[in-house]
């Protein structure tokens, strides 16, 4: 469906993307996870044909993507990060305009616009100006405006920025339905929860490098540990951390210590030692590692701090 081969893009001295390669199969829901400035939007803009890569190539269904190539654009829908709508026009007028630009007309255009308005739950307010909508309503129309022509590939560049939980859920459900109907989706985000919930495959990107690629389970195998112990931070535990360090690696988090068991050490040994040190079980919380932990492991920094 989408093939990205050795793509590099520079802005002056800054290397926004460095030899990125990626291949997506039809029907995938692919998440591009990374902090702000990682290169997600640059990659999206190259795939959308808004910019040309300095080197490498991109193709959609075998058709080369370029700033002057029109054919792949009919296969593609793009939900920009900004609410790219004419705010002084109504939702219906916006949808009709964008539908016409893709060559839709007459009854077909009418039907697709109505369907889109229903999908965005805005049919009753279709004639209101977009500027009168809430942020969530605008975001929903922003997505719908990109799929009127029923593209094979939909690029969503952080489409839920600044959206309330209710609208976010509505957008998620809408995208999941599109994906279930066969649409391939590339979804960029810096929220690991979104990537975890939506995406069948995830790529982690930072400083223009694609650091890891795979399903959630595949990605987590990159970690040298399978469980993480969160230990409440207080005078009692702080005094005993040195002794527990013999069993694994301890790092300081905001209000806790994070403990990763060393290879070859069993949890029963660790908890027995803790009991001997007089630390009650209520201070301990075992959980599975997340993409946040993976990102920290890969880059040495937190995803959210960026």
């Amino acid at each position: 469906m989408l093939t990205i081969e050795n793509v590099t893009k520079r802005f002056g001295e800054i290397v926004a993307l460095d030899r990125v390669s990626l291949s997506l199969a039809r029907g995938e829901f692919f998440g591009l996870l990374g902090p702000n400035g990682a290169g997600k939007t640059t990659l999206m803009s190259l795939v959308a044909g808004l910019r040309a890569p300095d080197s490498g190539s991109i193709s959609i269904n075998g058709q080369h993507v370029g700033t002057n190539a029109m054919a792949p654009r009919h296969e593609l829908g793009f939900v920009p990060q900004a609410i790219a709508l004419y705010e002084e026009l109504s939702a219906e007028e916006n949808l009709r305009l964008f539908g016409k630009l893709y060559g839709l007309a007459g009854q077909e255009l009418r039907a697709r616009v109505d369907h889109g308005l229903h999908a965005a739950q805005l049919f009753e307010r279709r004639q209101d100006k977009v500027q009168t909508y809430s942020g969530g309503m605008k975001r929903r129309i922003n997505v719908v405006a990109s799929i009127l022509h029923r593209p094979a590939l939909l690029l969503c560049d952080e489409p839920t920025v600044g959206v309330d939980p209710q609208s976010r859920n509505a957008i998620f459900e809408f995208l999941q339905k599109l994906n279930a109907d066969g649409m391939t989706i590339v979804y960029s985000t810096h929220y690991m929860e979104e990537a975890t919930r939506l995406c069948s495959r995830i790529g982690i990107i930072d400083h223009g490098h694609l650091l890891a690629l795979g399903t959630l389970d595949e990605l987590l195998t990159h970690l040298p540990f399978s469980e993480l112990v969160r230990i409440a931070r207080n005078d009692h535990t702080t005094a005993q951390m040195q002794a527990l360090a013999d069993y694994g690696e301890i790092t300081k988090a905001e209000d806790a210590y994070l403990f990763k068991l060393r290879d070859g050490v069993r949890f029963s040994e660790f908890f027995a030692a803790a009991e001997e040190l007089g630390l009650p079980y209520r201070y301990f919380n075992i959980r599975r590692p997340t993409l946040e932990d993976l990102f920290l492991h890969l880059t040495g920094k937190n995803l959210r701090d960026n």
Binding site: S45, A48, G49, L50, R51, N68, M70, R73, H74, L76, G77, F78, P80, Q81, A82, I83, A84, L85, Y86, E87, F98, L101, Y102, G103, A145, S146, L155
Partner: protein
């Protein structure tokens, strides 16, 4: 109080970052004050208009017209034109038919004709024709006044000298000389003075005759009865409402520039809204967007101009129906030039605020220099030259040719060509900038 001062400081910091506000607050007024100062001669002892082209045709060899022409040539308000280059580039003395042709074409607006019977051997009198194309009322009234002042200052001496020659012809030079001597002695005895000086004044005509220093505005003055000036309108004589017809073009093009510059700077708003990302991800090219802006701007401009002219028709009786095809042509050319100007601003300015600030400065300056507010002849020479590089000047010229002179398409072609050439050059630069700039990224 401290809180207020902190907030005041913040206001200044924000103001300092707003280039458009700085431009509108300081640069625009300074530029306009400079232009107004030059027009009204605030810093100059030699105030008033300079170098208004005045064609002069002298069909006699008489001394009086020659003396008046010499005086007109010394008057800085006028640029006296007595010859022109023909189609072969040969310099030829102007003739009345040629002058009339030039006036109808709008090349000159004023002419003074001394006919073959301007003076006569049998009487002391002067006849002349003043041809005018009163496209600009202020300029026409000013030229009228200056012309009368110059003529009525120079004519008496020449007429009295003529009287001496007429007397000598009639009674013989010896008798005339004796009469002058007797008259000089009588004047010296009666009023005092040196008889030799008085004799010189009599012979050369250097008298201060009452009624000759008021520029002849008093219809009963002595000179008014001697100097007959026939006035004729060449072009615009049949215009129904001259005042409105003269001014509508200048104001129309100024407002057109404002509206079309505003429309062009919408590019920045659309970029900020991310609309170009959506549009360019669709089967839409950059050139599609630019062409849509140009076509919309031109149509909006033509409709705006026509709306203003229709309003002029119903409110002030401006005749827009008798030359409607040429009016449409000049509206189209002016709108094209104004759109190109707006797009050039949008292409060169880094932000919408900068474009609007620069736009306001340039539009007001072009309107002032281009003749929308006052005749260009009221400005210093360098500004008059500068005016010919403005859209406003050529748009006004086109509107006046159509509405005032009721010209045909052939006579309008040079103006159309200049406006469209400006549009082409500005558009080429803009499109190059848009293609290589940041607006679509």
């Amino acid at each position: 109080m401290r809180t207020v001062l902190v907030l005041v400081g913040n206001e200044f910091r924000r103001f300092a970052t707003d280039k458009a506000a700085i431009s509108l607050t300081f640069i625009v007024p300074l530029v306009l004050i400079y232009i107004f100062g030059n027009v009204f001669g605030v810093n100059s002892e030699d105030r008033g208009p300079k170098g208004i082209p005045l064609a002069v045709v002298n069909q006699t060899d008489a001394a009086v017209p020659a003396a008046i022409i010499s005086a007109l040539q010394k008057e800085p308000a006028f640029k006296v034109i007595t010859s022109h280059k023909d189609a072969n580039g040969v310099e030829r003395v102007l003739t009345e038919p040629e002058v009339r042709r030039m006036m109808r074409a709008g090349d000159i607006h004023f002419a003074l004709i001394f006919p073959t019977d301007a003076t006569s051997d049998s009487e002391v009198a002067l006849k002349m024709k003043f041809l005018r194309n009163a496209r600009n009322e202020i300029e026409t009234e000013t030229v009228n006044g200056l012309l009368e002042k110059t003529i009525f200052t120079a004519a008496p001496q020449a007429l009295l000298a003529s009287l001496q020659r007429l007397g000598a012809n009639q009674v013989g030079s010896e008798t005339m000389t004796r009469f002058n001597h007797s008259l000089a002695d009588a004047v010296a005895r009666g009023f005092g003075g040196d008889p030799a000086n008085i004799l010189h004044s009599i012979e050369t005509g250097e008298f201060n005759i009452p009624g000759t220093t008021s520029a002849g505005t008093d219809g009963n003055s002595f000179l008014d009865r001697l100097i007959k000036m026939e006035r004729e309108e060449v072009g615009g004589g049949n215009v129904k409402n001259p005042m409105a017809t003269r001014s509508v073009g200048g104001y129309a093009v100024m407002f057109l520039l404002f509206s079309l510059t505003g429309a062009s700077t919408s590019l920045f708003d659309e970029k900020k809204a991310g609309l170009y990302q959506r549009l360019l991800a669709a089967p839409v090219r950059r050139t599609h967007i630019l062409w849509s802006k140009y076509i919309f701007g031109i149509l909006l401009g033509v409709v705006q101009l026509l709306a203003l002219f229709v309003a002029g028709r119903f409110l002030f009786g401006v005749d827009i129906t008798s030359n409607v095809f040429n009016l449409l042509l000049i509206c189209l050319a002016a709108a094209s030039a104004c759109v190109a100007f707006g797009m050039l601003l949008a292409a060169l300015a880094p932000t919408a605020a900068a474009a609007n600030g620069m736009g306001t400065l340039l539009i007001l300056t072009m309107s002032a220099v281009g003749g929308a507010w006052w005749p260009t002849s009221f400005m210093p020479q360098f500004m008059q030259q500068l005016s010919k590089f403005t859209i406003v000047y050529w748009s006004i010229e086109g509107f006046l040719r159509v509405l005032w002179a009721n010209c045909n398409t052939r006579d309008l072609l040079p103006v159309l060509a200049i406006l469209l050439a400006f549009a082409a050059v500005a558009s080429t630069i803009s499109i190059w900038r848009f293609r290589h700039g940041q607006i679509f990224e």
